[in-house]
C-alpha cells in the first residue's frame, strides 16, 4: 500500500460566513492523474488553493507528503498552476522561470537549463525573452503550466489547465501530462469532462463544498452491470430504444441526449454485447457514429441516479 500524498481531514472553509468546503475528508495515493470536478462554486479552486498553501482553511487538517501546505519540505516536491495567476509584467518569461528554479534550489546554470527545458516542452522557446503582457492568453496559460513542471515535482495541482486553450494546445498539454504521469501525480480540476475522461482513472466530485463519498473510477470492467454508450446519426429514438431493449442481456436503455443511447447490460448473460449491438444496427440499416464501452464521465458524475431496472 502506497503512503498517501494528500490527506485531508474534516476540512472546512468559509468566506465571510459562506461555506465553501464542508467537512471534506479524503486521501490520495500517488499514481495516475486524478480529476477534480464539480459545478461552478463547488469549492474546487478553494480546495486546490488550500492544498497549494495559498489559503488557510477555517478548520481541519491537511497534509501533503506528511507536511502542512507551504512547508519548506514541500519545495520542489509540490507545484501548482493557480487559477488566473499572472507573471510579473516587469520581467521576461525566462527571467522569472530562472528565478523560480533558483528558489527551488537549483544553481544558476541548472536553473537556466531547466527553464529552457520546460519552455521547449510547450513550444514556447520563442516567447522566452518576451514580457508576459505581450503574450496571448493561450501562451500565458502554457507558460503558467510550464512553471509548474520546473524541477519535475512529485505532485502537481492544475486548476483549469485547458480552459481557454485551442484544441492543438489542449492536445499538447494532455500529451505532456500523460508522459509525465509515471513520475508525477497530477490533480486536475476541470469542467472539460471529456478531457478528464481521457486522462484520469479516478475522479473526485465536489458539490456545494461537500466531497462525494465515493471516488468515481473510470474503469468499470469488474462491475456486475456494464454500460455501452452508443452515438447514432439521426435515427428514430423510440424505435431504437425498443429494439435495443429487446436484445438478450440488455437491462435498460436510456436516451440522455439526442442521438445518444446508454445501454446497461448483464455481461454474464451477454458477454459480447458490442457485437450484438452492431448486428442490430446493421439489420435495421441505421448509421452509428461511435460505440464505446462504459458511460461518459458526464453520465457517471451527474446522472448517477439512472439505474438499470
Amino acid at each position: 500500500m502506497k503512503s498517501p500524498i494528500i490527506h485531508c481531514q474534516q476540512l472546512n472553509h468559509a468566506y465571510s460566513g459562506k461555506v465553501a468546503l464542508s467537512d471534506v475528508n479524503f486521501e490520495l495515493v500517488p499514481g495516475e492523474p486524478i480529476g477534480l470536478v464539480g459545478p461552478n462554486g463547488a469549492g474546487k479552486t478553494t480546495l486546490l488553493s488550500i492544498l497549494s498553501g495559498f489559503l488557510r482553511p477555517t478548520s481541519g487538517t491537511v497534509r501533503l507528503f506528511g507536511h502542512p501546505p507551504g512547508a519548506a519540505q514541500l519545495i520542489g516536491k509540490v507545484s501548482a498552476l493557480p487559477q488566473d495567476a499572472k507573471l510579473d509584467p516587469s520581467f521576461t518569461v525566462i527571467e522569472q522561470l530562472v528565478f523560480y528554479a533558483r528558489l527551488q534550489g537549483l544553481v544558476k546554470q541548472q536553473a537556466i537549463f531547466e527553464a529552457n527545458r520546460v519552455l521547449e516542452e510547450f513550444s514556447l522557446k520563442e516567447a522566452a525573452h518576451e514580457k508576459p503582457l505581450v503574450l496571448s492568453h493561450g501562451m500565458a496559460k502554457r507558460v503558467a503550466i510550464a512553471q509548474a513542471l520546473i524541477g519535475k515535482p512529485e505532485l502537481i495541482l492544475l486548476d483549469e489547465p485547458t480552459a481557454g486553450l485551442d484544441p492543438v494546445n489542449v492536445r499538447t498539454i494532455r500529451a505532456i501530462i500523460a508522459e509525465q504521469s509515471s513520475a508525477t501525480t497530477f490533480i486536475i480540476s476541470s469542467h472539460d469532462l471529456a478531457e478528464l475522461d481521457r486522462l484520469c482513472r479516478q475522479v473526485l466530485l465536489l458539490e456545494n463544498g461537500i466531497m462525494q463519498a465515493e471516488k468515481i473510477g473510470i474503469n468499470d470492467q469488474l462491475a456486475a452491470t456494464r454500460f455501452i454508450t452508443l452515438q447514432m446519426e439521426t435515427c428514430p429514438a423510440l424505435e431504437v430504444i425498443a429494439k435495443l431493449q429487446a436484445l438478450k442481456g440488455v437491462l435498460q436503455v436510456t436516451n440522455p441526449q439526442k442521438n445518444e443511447f446508454i445501454v446497461a447490460y448483464d455481461p454474464d448473460l451477454q458477454p459480447h454485447m458490442d457485437l450484438q449491438l452492431m448486428q442490430c444496427i446493421n439489420t435495421h440499416h441505421w448509421q452509428y457514429r461511435q460505440l464505446s464501452h462504459g458511460k461518459t464521465l458526464e453520465e457517471k458524475l451527474f446522472f448517477r441516479d439512472v439505474h438499470p431496472t
Binding site: G53, L55, A85, K86, L87, D88, F99, Y100, L103
Partner: protein, 273 residues
C-alpha cells in the same frame, strides 16, 4: 530558522534590486530621482550652504536659519551636510512611503505571489522584499550623500577628512530613519490591494494617528507611549542634533521597525494569496 530562508531572502532581495536597476520602469524612476536630486543639490542645498558660510563670516547675532527654525544647521562643521541633513530628513521618509508601497500588494492581486510561495516560505518573501527595498534606499541615500560630499570637495578639497565622519553619520542615520517607514509600508502592503491604498493609509497613519494619539494623551498621559510607535516620531528631535549625537535616538526607529515588521509578518502569514 532553516538555511534556505537566507538563500531565498538573498534571491528575492536580488530580484528586487534587478527590478529597480535593470527594468525600464525602475530605471525611469531612478532617472527622475537623479534629476530631482540634481536640482536640490544645485540650488537650495548649494545656496543655503553659501548663505550659512556668509553668516558664519559675519558673526552677527541674528541668523536667518534661527529665524526659520533651522538653527541646528549651524552646529554642523560643514554647512552643506547641515543643509543636506535637514532636506534628507524630510525627503527620504516621503520617498520611502512611495518607493516601498508596493512590496507585495500588486503581485498578490495579480497572483504572482502564488508562483513564488510555491517555492519559498512567506517569511522569506516578506523579509526578502523588505530587505530589497531597504538596500535600494540605502544605495540612494549613499549616492545623495556622496554627491553632497562632491559638492563640499568642489568648494574646498581640503575638507575631505573632516567631511568623512559626517558623511558616515548622516548615511547611517538616514538609513535608520527610513527603516520604520519601510517596515510600515511592508505591513500595509501585505494588507491592502494596491500601492495607492498603502500610500493613503501611510499618510493617514503618519498624520492623523499622531494627532489623535496626542489628543487622547492630553487627557490620559499614559497614552503618550503610543506616539512613540508612529514612524518618524523622533525626526523633529533628530533634526536638532548634529554629528554623532544623532545616533542617540537610533533605538527609536529600530524598535519601531521591529514592532512593525512583527505585525507585517503576522498579516502576511494569514493573508490569502
Amino acid at each position: 530558522m532553516r538555511p534556505e530562508f537566507f538563500n531565498h531572502l538573498l534571491l528575492i532581495s536580488q530580484f528586487e534590486l534587478k527590478r529597480s536597476f535593470a527594468t525600464r520602469k525602475g530605471i525611469l524612476s531612478l532617472v527622475t530621482f537623479a534629476v530631482f536630486w540634481y536640482f536640490i543639490l544645485l540650488y537650495p542645498l548649494r545656496f543655503a550652504a553659501e548663505l550659512l558660510l556668509q553668516e558664519k563670516g559675519l558673526r552677527q547675532d541674528f541668523s536667518f536659519f534661527d529665524f526659520i527654525g533651522f538653527g541646528s544647521i549651524q552646529h554642523w562643521p560643514i554647512p552643506e551636510f547641515g543643509v543636506f541633513w535637514q532636506f534628507a530628513l524630510i525627503i527620504f521618509p516621503m520617498l520611502s512611503i512611495t518607493l516601498a508601497a508596493d512590496q507585495t500588494c500588486s503581485d498578490r492581486e495579480r497572483g504572482t505571489l502564488r508562483f513564488i510561495v510555491l517555492r519559498c516560505s512567506r517569511d522569506s518573501l516578506f523579509f526578502g522584499r523588505f530587505t530589497g527595498v531597504m538596500v535600494i534606499q540605502a544605495l540612494l541615500i549613499s549616492a545623495t550623500a556622496l554627491s553632497t560630499l562632491a559638492l563640499v570637495l568642489y568648494r574646498d578639497a581640503t575638507l575631505f577628512s573632516l567631511a568623512l565622519p559626517d558623511l558616515l553619520t548622516i548615511t547611517v542615520n538616514l538609513i535608520l530613519a527610513v527603516l520604520p517607514f519601510t517596515a510600515m509600508m511592508a505591513a500595509l502592503s501585505a494588507m491592502v490591494k494596491s500601492a495607492r491604498q498603502a500610500t493613503v493609509w501611510a499618510i493617514l497613519i503618519w498624520t492623523f494617528l499622531a494627532g489623535i494619539i496626542s489628543g487622547f494623551a492630553y487627557y490620559l498621559p499614559a497614552l503618550t507611549f503610543f506616539k512613540f510607535l508612529v514612524p518618524g516620531y523622533q525626526l523633529s528631535d533628530l533634526a536638532q542634533l548634529s554629528g554623532w549625537q544623532t545616533l542617540q535616538l537610533a533605538y527609536v526607529p529600530l524598535l519601531q521597525s521591529f514592532i512593525l515588521l512583527t505585525l507585517g509578518r503576522w498579516i502576511m502569514i494569514r493573508q490569502t494569496l
